[in-house]
């Protein structure tokens, strides 16, 4: 029993919004779709909901043609990245709205709406209009309205993106608990944030330019990004990429830097490669000279944007430090954590999972 998308295509003026999408969503699964803005995530959800018709391809739910069903007959719930509620109805009526449309008697609809409002922590707000709520509360109302109908398919389109940092953290935790109770549903959750996609998803799908470029278990994908593009999207900040070659048992990086080939790359033939290294796998040291282009503070870390003969790259420094723009710093690479990609960008070898994820 599943939702199956086959060869779904949506193009507009020659631009592919969805490019030959093939996906299978199983009941009880929680899928996160990770991609940059305009990657086609929203179009994918709108197509599943029926708000957009694909030009090509099939969409089947439990073996029957889902494309034939109009939006209002599909048992779908959706939460938009903008918090959409009905301004003329109070919170309780907003949440009860889909139940009333489905013919549930008023008393029962209100009772079920109250249960869900309790779940999202809005018990005391049922008489308010959406305009009288904070952004986080408005999004909770929208979420409650999506949950109350116990839809077969629950779609969430970057639901946290318009919230401030603190609320986002809190709601993300709530999501984990809330989704656990949705065993019968297919939950699809889109986001631009790798941490969100990894934390929430049972399965993760990476989208780029309307196509799917990788899917699998979140940690497996994180540890073995199939291409450089995947590695860029799934790491925040994006994985650093250096040009270089493997020669005589050494890695020769641009700018004349030499490293010993680590064990996990020992079997690779000589030739040109592109090497990937996460920002957290570089530290200040003595090997590579480079200049500070930008220095920002994030929480208790300092993020350095650096430029040297090796190229431009980003480094995470534990602790909060001041670096003036133009300062020269020395950087060490952790060669045990280097990924090697072909010149075309396909993953050839990466550190063993345990090694890659050890911090």
């Amino acid at each position: 029993m599943a939702l199956i998308l086959q060869n779904i295509d949506i193009r507009e003026n020659g631009v592919a919004h969805l490019d030959n999408i093939n996906l299978m969503f199983s009941r009880g699964g929680l899928y996160t779709v990770l991609g940059r803005t305009l990657a086609g995530k929203t179009t994918l959800l709108r197509t599943i909901a029926g708000l957009q018709q694909p030009q090509k391809g099939t969409l089947m739910l439990h073996g029957s043609d889902y494309l034939q069903l109009p939006v209002w007959k599909r048992r779908v719930a959706m939460v938009y990245q903008q918090f959409i509620n009905y301004p003329h109805l109070n919170v309780l009526a907003n949440v009860a709205f889909p139940l009333r449309r489905a013919g549930v008697p008023r008393a029962e609809a209100h009772q079920r709406a109250r249960e869900v409002l309790g779940k999202v922590g809005l018990t005391d707000f049922e008489k308010r209009r959406p305009a009288a709520l904070s952004g986080g509360q408005q999004q909770r109302v929208a979420l409650a309205r999506a949950l109350v109908k116990r839809a077969e398919i629950l779609l969430l389109d970057e639901p946290l993106v318009n919230l401030d940092y603190k609320l986002r953290e809190q709601l993300r935790e709530d999501f984990q608990n809330i989704f656990e109770g949705q065993d019968d549903a297919i939950v699809v959750y889109t986001t631009t944030e790798p941490a969100e996609a990894i934390q929430l998803g049972h399965q993760m799908i990476i989208m780029d330019e309307g196509g799917i470029i990788q899917q699998g278990e979140p940690l497996a994908v994180f540890n073995a990004p199939a291409t450089i593009r995947c590695a860029e999207i799934i790491n925040d900040p994006p994985m650093n990429i250096f040009y270089g070659t493997i020669e005589n048992g050494d890695i020769q990086l641009q700018g004349g830097i030499q490293l010993k080939v680590p064990a996990h790359m020992a079997h690779l033939p000589h030739g040109p490669y592109r090497f990937g290294l996460r920002a957290a796998d570089l530290r200040l040291g003595s090997m590579i000279g480079s200049q500070v282009e930008l220095s920002e503070i994030s929480g208790s870390q300092t993020i350095l944007h650096l430029r040297g003969d090796i190229g431009t790259f980003i480094l995470y420094e534990e602790g909060v430090y001041q670096h003036a723009i133009g300062d020269t710093v020395q950087v060490d690479l952790n060669s045990n954590r280097i990924y090697s990609f072909s010149v075309d960008g396909d993953l050839i070898a990466g550190p063993a999972a345990a090694e890659a994820y050890r911090r």
């Binding site: 903008q82 959409i84 301004p87 889909p98 449309r101 408005q138 109908k149």
Partner: protein, 281 residues
């Protein structure tokens, strides 16, 4: 500095208010004057400057062969204006929703062309429309009837209602219709249950335009009626005879403006913008 600014501001407001309100004051005092009171120049204080009289007002209700009857035209005007406005609002709102949300295409004709076609009918000067309207009503046998006037006013008001509502619906986020459909409404249900209840300000504006235009129109009321049916603006003008009765003219003018003032007073609170707050962020 701040005080000067405030003073200037209130002075400007005062000037403009007088400009707008003084004619009404003039009409109010004049309506209680007689011929002698009017000829003596502008005076405003009753009993002191002129002797108040109810002559002007008495003329408006026909009693024992005296005066003209303003009650019948009043009722006719109300019936014509309200019917035409309601029909125009109902049709115009539906048309506007269609034009705002769905794509129509007939050859090179697109939504925006259809919308422009609606308003283009109001670009022509009324005199151009008067003759065809006259001939059409004659053909239908509806000249000099309430029904005929309603028909003509719908033709005149529908473009206004449609135009105002298209603009309003274009500013109602589409996602709210989509959400209603996801929540189980078909397109008509989404319109009736979600879009319409949130469109009260737009409907109010459109309705107000319709009522004001319909109530005040003299031209079509004059050209398309003769003896059986008379609308208020025509009746007011008909008061004029060889001697202009300023007192009864003033009284009838006040009476005909009154409903619009009352409507504006009650409707004003629906006009507040920002009604869609809380729909989308």
């Amino acid at each position: 500095m701040k005080t000067t600014y405030l003073l200037l501001k209130y002075l400007a407001i005062l000037l403009w208010s007088s400009f707008v309100a003084l004619p009404f004051l003039w009409a109010l005092t004049t309506s209680f004057k007689t011929a002698n009171g009017v000829t003596g120049g502008a005076t405003y204080i009753p009993w002191l400057q002129y002797k108040p009289s109810l002559e002007g007002w008495k003329v408006l209700v026909r009693t024992g062969g005296q005066g003209i009857d303003i009650v019948a035209p009043y009722i006719s005007s109300a019936v014509v204006t309200l019917s035409a406005s309601l029909i125009s609002l109902a049709l115009g709102t539906l048309a506007a929703y269609g034009l705002s949300r769905f794509t129509f295409r007939l050859g090179f004709i697109k939504n925006s062309d259809i919308t422009f076609f609606f308003i283009s009918q109001r670009i022509m000067p009324p005199i151009v429309l008067a003759i065809p309207f006259f001939l059409m009503l004659q053909f239908l046998g509806l000249l000099d009837t309430i029904a005929g006037l309603i028909l003509v006013y719908v033709a005149l008001l529908l473009p206004i209602a449609t135009w105002v509502m298209v603009d309003f619906f274009n500013n109602v986020p589409r996602q709210i219709d989509e959400m209603a459909m996801i929540d189980g409404c078909n397109p008509i249900g989404a319109f009736l249950r979600v879009v319409l209840p949130n469109s009260l300000p737009g409907i109010t504006v459109a309705g107000l335009f319709c009522i004001i235009f319909g109530w005040n129109d003299f031209f079509f009321a004059f050209t398309l009626t003769f003896t059986k049916t008379q609308l208020l603006p025509v009746a007011v003008v008909a008061l004029n005879s060889s001697v202009t009765p300023w007192w009864s003219l003033s009284a009838s003018a006040l009476v005909s403006v009154a409903p619009l003032v009352i409507i504006a007073f009650f409707v004003e609170r629906f006009l507040s913008s920002g009604n869609m707050a809380g729909a989308i962020r």
